[in-house]
């Protein structure tokens, strides 16, 4: 049987397709739906947003006059932008390391405890099943001035610890971080567990024979061998926190003042609160550039580290 198909082109003359061409065409057809989704729902809106961010489009009408970089200059020179940027950066510095350290330690703790480990994994993963909005409402009740946390402190005579957790500049971001970590820990724990299960058991056995203690095992064996999982988790958690919107929106609306407002929340605020769509788009572009930059820096550093460790 011939390994080529014969088709007729538009002039009616015969044209032969090789097996390779047929295979490529089939692959293209399989990929086409996903590609169309990406083009229509991601790439096109992204490019249009970039286009409109350079205009004075009001978000409703059809008119859009070119203004160049005016919107970008306005949003970054606006008086509260500095605080918003600091908040976003603060959350990255606070949330990413704390989350990953806790997730890794918990993964190590539940990794080899037998069947009861499944119960622990379920409990730890449960918050991740909830929507971020529900999580925010739960923690809003917990952190409320007359909420569970303060009531517990008062009940145990620790009145001085009862605070307005979400209403003070010094406590709002750490409080928010705790709620995000509670939500996300299960997800990252699973990735670390997947990495741990890939580490050959024999390595630990021979390490034990050689008298390596648990701390040395962790730093000399476990962490180097799960470096790819660490890379994935750090990148994902960074992107997650940079683009975080729903939890701060429900929990604090960016307050008090601008003390918990993130760049993502600022985009929403421009688009739907102050109704300044062109500023919202400029801010969204800035957010995108910021996220890409941070991610590329992290990727470069972590990949290099992986190569060294492995």
């Amino acid at each position: 049987m011939s390994d080529t198909s014969t088709i007729r082109n538009y002039k009616g003359s015969r044209r032969k397709w090789s097996a390779t061409t047929r295979r490529r065409f089939s692959c293209f057809l399989f990929v086409l739906p996903a590609l169309l989704v990406i083009l229509v729902f991601f790439l096109f809106p992204m490019l249009r947003s970039l286009q409109y961010s350079l205009t004075d489009w009001d978000g409703i009408g059809k008119e859009a006059k070119w203004v160049g970089l005016e919107n970008f200059i306005w949003v970054v020179t606006e008086s509260s932008f500095r605080q918003v940027f600091i908040n976003t950066f603060y959350l990255i510095i606070l949330y990413v390391p704390v989350l990953n350290v806790i997730a890794l330690l918990l993964a190590i703790a539940v990794y080899n405890v037998g069947k009861v480990g499944n119960v622990y994994k379920s409990i730890l993963f449960f918050p991740n099943v909830l929507s971020m909005t529900v999580v925010a409402f739960i923690w809003k009740i917990i952190y409320s001035y007359n909420g569970i946390l303060n009531q517990l402190f008062r009940a145990f005579g620790l009145e001085s610890l009862a605070q307005d957790w979400l209403g003070q500049a010094g406590t709002v971001l750490p409080a928010m971080s705790v709620s995000i970590i509670w939500f996300a820990i299960g997800y990252y724990l699973l990735i670390y567990l997947a990495g741990l299960y890939n580490v050959p058991v024999e390595i630990y056995e021979s390490a034990e024979v050689e008298g390596v203690n648990p701390v040395q095992k962790l730093f000399r064996i476990t962490i180097p061998l799960i470096a790819p999982s660490i890379t994935i988790n750090i990148i994902l958690s960074t992107i997650g926190i940079i683009t975080l919107f729903d939890l701060p929106f429900v929990l604090t609306r960016g307050g008090p003042g601008y003390m918990s407002e993130t760049i993502a929340l600022r985009v929403y605020s421009y688009a739907f609160v102050t109704l300044q769509t062109s500023y919202a788009l400029a801010m969204a572009v800035i957010l995108g550039i910021f996220a890409i930059t941070i991610t590329l820096i992290q990727l470069r550093f972590l990949r290099r580290r992986e190569d060294v460790l492995l």
Partner: protein
């Protein structure tokens, strides 16, 4: 052949039944989409809509509650997916929508003819189109626990100095004096609007026009005092714990639970705040200086509008019903102040609110609520500025200057 004919007959019969089900009394069924902002009685409002639908069987209602009018409607307007019947606030957002033809001009509806003229300007666009009908007349005032006042031997204050003394007495008795909610627009509905009314309106009676033109000067001591007053209340310990995390419904719940002696809130909450376990009374907010005549607030509540589209006729029918034969359902549930000339049913207005508003109507000079005249782009700024002042991040004068700049920039 026979089987084929039988199948065809069944299909035709089924099709005919389906077609007639979509028809009501010869009219095609209309699905009227309604997006309503009514956070205090969302389920009840749904019941009102069902009553309307039962009186007009060919209309089916698709009802959605919305938290924030402008936030919800803006993307809908941008994508051409406006619900048929919507909540809308007085101010420039609605004005913009009607001038673009996204909302219809309801000037010639029965609802408009049955609405008092005083609440129409806020819903009128620069092109003279009426884009909505107010949901009621609104004001903000102080709700208070009558028994506590009696026990402490105090009476409702008439000016700011007396107000401070009353709060001090309440604080001295170990109670929370007053609830202030700086987290959201409630602070603007209350402290800011009253501060603006008393400090600025008397010498700027054309403030609506000045805001429109961007000539309203707010970088003044008088405007700074509007922020300073709330800071004073907080600094003296008169406000509730967790001040900077108390939002609209949190504050209402705190008062209903009896955790504060006074609550500064809107008249639209009368239905929730008056029928408490303890007796509640009201008094006009004493934001005027001693010796100066109070400038009370007379404003509009969130109202309703109709979108341009294939169902605008049914939208107008609902608008006329809500502001006509169906008005008493809505009004009785909320206990708010009627904006209609003829309520066409029994109005249940608490005697205290009636006394309050009758008194307010006697004042020569009144002012509107913030959202009716400040530029839409500055709306979120008021609560934020209060929060920054309360955090000590800005002085009241800096807050005044910041708002002044933003209001002028918004018009450029």
């Amino acid at each position: 052949m026979k089987k084929a004919l039988l199948v065809l007959s069944i299909l035709l019969l089924a099709g005919g039944l389906a077609f007639s089900a979509g028809q009501q009394g010869g009219q095609e069924t209309v699905l009227l989409t309604c997006a309503i902002h009514i956070p205090d009685i969302p389920e009840k409002f749904g019941e009102f809509l069902e009553i309307f639908a039962s009186e007009n069987p060919y209309i089916k209602i698709d009802y959605t509650t919305i938290e924030d009018v402008e936030t919800f409607l803006k993307p809908k307007a941008a994508t051409g997916l406006m619900p048929d019947f919507i909540s809308i606030n007085g101010g420039d957002f609605g004005a913009d929508l009607v001038d673009r033809g996204i909302l219809i001009d309801v000037s010639n509806t029965a609802a408009a003819k049955n609405t008092v003229d005083a609440v129409k300007p806020q819903f009128t666009s620069p092109q003279g189109k009426l884009f909505g009908i107010a949901g009621g007349v609104s004001s903000s005032l102080v709700y208070y626990q009558k028994a506590v006042f009696k026990d402490l031997g105090i009476s409702p204050p008439k000016n700011w100095d007396e107000f401070l003394k009353v709060n001090q007495t309440i604080k001295g008795a170990g109670k929370t004096a007053i609830i202030i909610t700086p987290v959201d627009g409630t602070i603007a509905n209350t402290a800011w609007s009253h501060g603006f009314a008393n400090n600025i309106v008397p010498s700027n009676t054309d403030y609506f026009q000045k805001f429109d033109k961007g000539t309203m000067n707010l970088d003044t001591e008088a405007h700074a005092d509007v922020f300073a007053k709330v800071k004073m209340l907080a600094d003296r310990g008169y406000t509730q714990g967790g001040l900077l995390s108390t939002a609209y419904m949190d504050g209402n719940q705190l008062y209903v639970q009896g955790k504060s002696v006074q609550h500064f809130a809107g008249t639209w909450l009368a239905g929730m705040l008056l029928p408490t376990e303890f007796e509640t009374d009201v008094y006009p907010a004493p934001w005027n200086a001693s010796g100066k005549t109070k400038v009370p607030i007379v404003a509009t509540e969130t109202g309703w509008g109709v979108a341009e589209g294939p169902h605008k006729k049914e939208g107008i029918m609902l608008l006329d019903w809500l502001n006509g034969p169906g008005f008493h359902y809505y009004q009785n549930a909320r206990g708010n102040i009627p904006h209609v000339k003829d309520p066409m049913g029994e109005v249940k207005l608490d005697a205290k609110i009636k006394t309050y508003i009758d008194d307010v109507y006697t004042y020569k000079l009144t002012a509107g609520l913030w959202f009716e005249f400040i530029p839409a782009a500055t709306m979120q700024l008021i609560p934020k500025l209060y929060q920054e002042v309360l955090l000590g991040q800005k002085t009241p004068r800096e807050a005044a200057a910041a708002f002044d700049k933003a209001a002028k920039d918004a018009v450029k």
